[in-house]
């Protein structure tokens, strides 16, 4: 009874092993992952239902679209890459990869460990590359020349004295044969890194208005994630390419606070994140949401040459030093433009071309008022001095991507190993060379044989060079 049971369970393990080691499985999983991924690139992932209903209407007609959407949604295609069945496929793929590699690895390892051996007389003519030359010298002298020529070609030769004569043999890139397995291993390392990131890390976002701080970030669903410290946005600014509204760069000045103290300040921009305690803050977007407390910042240079900075809220007034002129902030536009008829209007809801309308007065009597634009220095000039509108501070927020990923170093390591593995697999062939030296009177017959697991033509060229240098 017991024996039968063990036999059965062994049979089961064998069958599972066989199932995962089959190449058919690999092909099926490859195909399934590819085909479902194609669907995933057509159906917009994590989008508003309305968008996908519109898309489906193109295929099944507008009346059937809502029903089709329900089915597609229930099957997980709207967030496909995180659905249980897609993740399962990835795991089957990984298991398949491990089992297939383990099955073939021992054999390959044996081949890779085996050092080159001298050839028997029967083996010589069977080698794919063969050359022969007769040199006028005794074998001992020729040996040095052959060794030097091989050395130049990158081979360090060993020697053995046999009945056929003196044989030199050498090899290169023996471990290139393992490149495929190194590549497979790297895929697994990357996948382990990804899993570690999913389980022990997070991906969240955070919008911070200038001057505000936060101790939490938000997951896509809206769930709060505590950060264990505070991060504050001191300033946010966008610079544009001259004469256009294409942003050149956008940057935020962030400060990390712990126990009420500032511990780190850094200016970040796209491609230049801030890292603190394993959490990384990436500049990803920005927006405009002014409040009553947003501050208009000016730098004033009076006609007499004295400089001063002021900041004030909407509707407040400031004095121009050295004069009795007052300026009042009466209007604001984040993006002031002019239409065909010369009328002013606001053309965007972001701070693309911020402008402020200042009403000047002197002793209660109204003076000429004007628009002052941040990006156009000509508008800063007034009859009372230069008034630069520097910023509306506390009105823009910076959109940050907040990430913690303890598995990312594994992903990088995997990438590095993959690069090495691919190099070995594709560009590093295992090449072997044998040279037989047979003395005949005052001459030596040199027989060269070589074989390459990859890049035969390249090896042939090298051998050609060796022969040439011997001939001279």
């Amino acid at each position: 009874m017991d024996n039968e049971k063990t036999a059965q369970s062994v049979g089961l393990i064998d069958r599972v092993w066989k199932f995962f080691s089959s190449i058919t499985l690999a092909v099926v999983v490859f195909a399934l992952i590819s085909l479902t991924s194609i669907i995933g690139t057509i159906i917009e992932q994590g989008a508003e239902p309305q968008r996908n209903i519109k898309l489906l209407a193109k295929f099944v007609g507008p009346s059937a679209a809502p029903k089709a959407f329900q089915i597609v949604d229930a099957l997980g295609f709207t967030d496909m890459y995180h659905s249980w069945w897609f993740v399962t496929m990835l795991f089957v793929f990984a298991t398949n990869l491990i089992v297939c590699s383990l099955e073939r690895l021992p054999g390959r390892l044996k081949v890779a460990r085996e050092r080159v051996k001298p050839l028997t007389p029967e083996q010589f003519p069977k080698m794919p590359i063969r050359r022969e030359v007769v040199l006028k010298d005794n074998p001992d002298k020729v040996r040095g020349a052959v060794e030097a020529a091989l050395k130049k070609a990158g081979f360090t030769a060993e020697a053995t004295e046999g009945e056929q004569g003196l044989q030199l043999f050498a090899e290169r890139g023996r471990y290139g044969r393992l490149g495929v397995y190194v590549t497979h291993l790297s895929i697994l390392i990357i996948m382990i890194g990804a899993v570690a990131g999913i389980f022990f890390g997070f991906n969240a976002s955070l919008n911070l208005l200038e001057g505000t701080a936060s101790g939490v970030a938000y997951r896509p669903g809206g769930k709060e994630i505590p950060l264990s410290f505070l991060v504050r946005c001191d300033d946010f600014s966008v610079s544009f390419y001259e004469g256009s509204d294409t942003p050149k760069s956008y940057r935020s000045v962030l400060t990390v606070m712990e126990n009420g103290k500032d511990v780190l300040t850094k200016e970040i921009e796209v491609n230049e994140p801030l890292k603190y305690k394993g959490i990384t803050f990436y500049q990803s977007s920005y927006g405009f949401s002014p409040t009553k407390d947003s501050l208009f910042r000016f730098s004033i240079t009076s006609a007499a040459g004295s400089k001063s900075d002021v900041q004030l809220k909407f509707g407040e007034s400031f004095a121009i030093p050295g004069t009795s002129v007052m300026g009042k902030i009466a209007d604001f536009s984040p993006a002031l433009g002019m239409d065909d008829q010369g009328r002013l209007f606001t053309y965007a809801d972001m701070m693309q071309n911020p402008a402020v309308f200042v009403e000047f007065s002197e002793g209660g009597a109204a003076r000429k008022s004007q628009w002052i634009l941040t990006r156009i220095p000509e508008t800063w000039k007034t009859p009372y001095g230069t008034i630069e509108f520097k910023d509306l501070w506390g009105a823009q927020y910076t959109g940050l991507q907040v990430r913690k990923d303890p598995g990312v170093w594994l992903v990088y390591l995997g990438c590095l190993i993959m690069a090495i593995g691919l190099y070995a697999a594709f560009f590093m062939g295992h090449s072997r060379v044998w040279v037989l030296l047979r003395g005949e009177k005052n001459t030596t017959k040199v027989t060269v044989a070589a074989a390459a697991s990859k890049g035969r033509a390249a090896l042939e060229e090298k051998i050609e060079k060796v022969m040439k240098s011997l001939g001279q």
Binding site: I23, E44, M80, T280, M418, L422
Partner: protein, 361 residues
């Protein structure tokens, strides 16, 4: 002289080279072959010069690091670079295999692509880089991706030629596959040409959404008649290629391109393209995405399609080495791989949306 003049010289040289290569095939005079090669090399030199001049122009406008100013940031520039890689690959093959007949196939593609870029009214202006693209990874990621696309394009054409050479029996699967593939490929190219012509004639503002315009003049026409006619035309073209494909087989065979050489070229192109694609396209792309967005993999359509392409070529390599696939079967895999490549390059940008949207027109 500015870059566009050099591009003009390159286009003309390639088209002249095409005519000369065809003359070479017809008359088999070595002198004609040398002239053809010289024209291709001249075109390539002008092309190279144009590329670097545009790089300099871009650098002067953008005022950022020279490495970041590589002109590879929109469809126009990428197509030009793609053609450059293709010609380079061809010249290497011509030199290594001492066979010029392949040129009659490659130079038309190059000349047509450059001419197509010219008549399509694609946006040729130099645009400054948006912040996400301002990174040194741009250079490595994009150039390596395009080098691999070009090697895959070469493997595609040699695989098709392999199928043409090995299958002359009209009812055999291999024959049907290559003729229908060629028919579809040419039909789609013609349809896109028609799109661009109508697009220009009707005069929508240039550079507007080609996304919604693609195939609107043919397969997706609002007129049922035109749409139907387009499909009939496509079927007709496939039939013609199928009916007279054997002529092409004979032509290729007469070029002294043996099937072994074609199979080897297909494999070698993929053996170079695959590691370059993996490293430059997938790995460098992931590292850059990680540094710019904090996510190394987001299943964005471009990434997903790259992965699919990678799977197909991985399959090619495993089928070849583990299962010993040779001949028709493996050539078909190479052809399918290039379809996936083309979709990764163009289809994703023209038809789908995602993070890589700046590759569009």
């Amino acid at each position: 002289m500015d870059s566009s003049q050099f591009f003009g010289i390159a286009s003309i040289a390639y088209i002249l080279a095409m005519i000369t290569y065809i003359a070479y095939l017809a008359f088999r005079k070595p002198t004609i072959g040398i002239v053809a090669s010289a024209l291709t090399v001249t075109g390539f030199a002008a092309h190279t010069a144009a590329f670097f001049i545009r790089w300099k122009e871009f650098y002067e406008i953008g005022k950022m690091g020279i490495l970041r100013a590589i002109p590879l940031t929109n469809l126009y520039e990428s197509l030009i670079f793609f053609v450059w890689c293709l010609i380079l690959g061809y010249l290497v093959i011509e030199w290594k295999y001492k066979n010029r007949s392949f040129g009659a196939f490659v130079t038309p593609v190059a000349g047509m692509a450059l001419a197509f870029i010219d008549i399509s009214g694609m946006d040729k202006n130099i645009h400054p880089l948006i912040p996400a693209l301002q990174s040194n990874w741009l250079l490595a990621h994009v150039t390596m991706s395009f080098i691999s696309y070009a090697t895959f394009a070469i493997s595609f054409s040699t695989a098709l030629m392999y199928l043409a050479v090995t299958s002359e029996e009209r009812k055999s699967g291999g024959y049907i596959f290559w003729t229908v593939t060629l028919g579809l490929f040419v039909s789609i190219l013609v349809a896109m040409g028609v799109d661009y012509l109508t697009f220009k004639v009707v005069g929508h503002s240039t550079g507007s959404l080609v996304k919604s315009h693609l195939f609107k003049a043919t397969f997706r026409s609002s007129s049922v008649f035109v749409a139907l006619l387009s499909y009939v035309g496509m079927a007709g073209l496939c039939f013609l290629v199928w009916r007279y494909g054997y002529l092409m087989s004979r032509l290729i065979t007469s070029f002294a391109l043996s099937k072994e050489t074609l199979d080897e070229l297909t494999y070698k192109s993929i053996a170079i393209g695959f590691p370059v694609f993996t490293l430059g396209g997938l790995i460098f792309g992931a590292i850059w995405a990680d540094q710019a967005w904090g996510k190394y993999w987001t299943w964005d359509p471009k990434e997903t399609w790259s992965l699919i392409t990678w799977f197909v070529y991985a399959f090619y390599l495993h089928a070849r080495f583990l299962r010993g696939w040779r001949g028709t079967k493996i050539a078909i895999v190479a052809v399918v791989g290039f379809f996936s490549t083309i979709f990764t390059y163009l289809g994703v940008n023209l038809l789908l949306s995602g993070l890589h949207s700046y590759g569009g027109m």
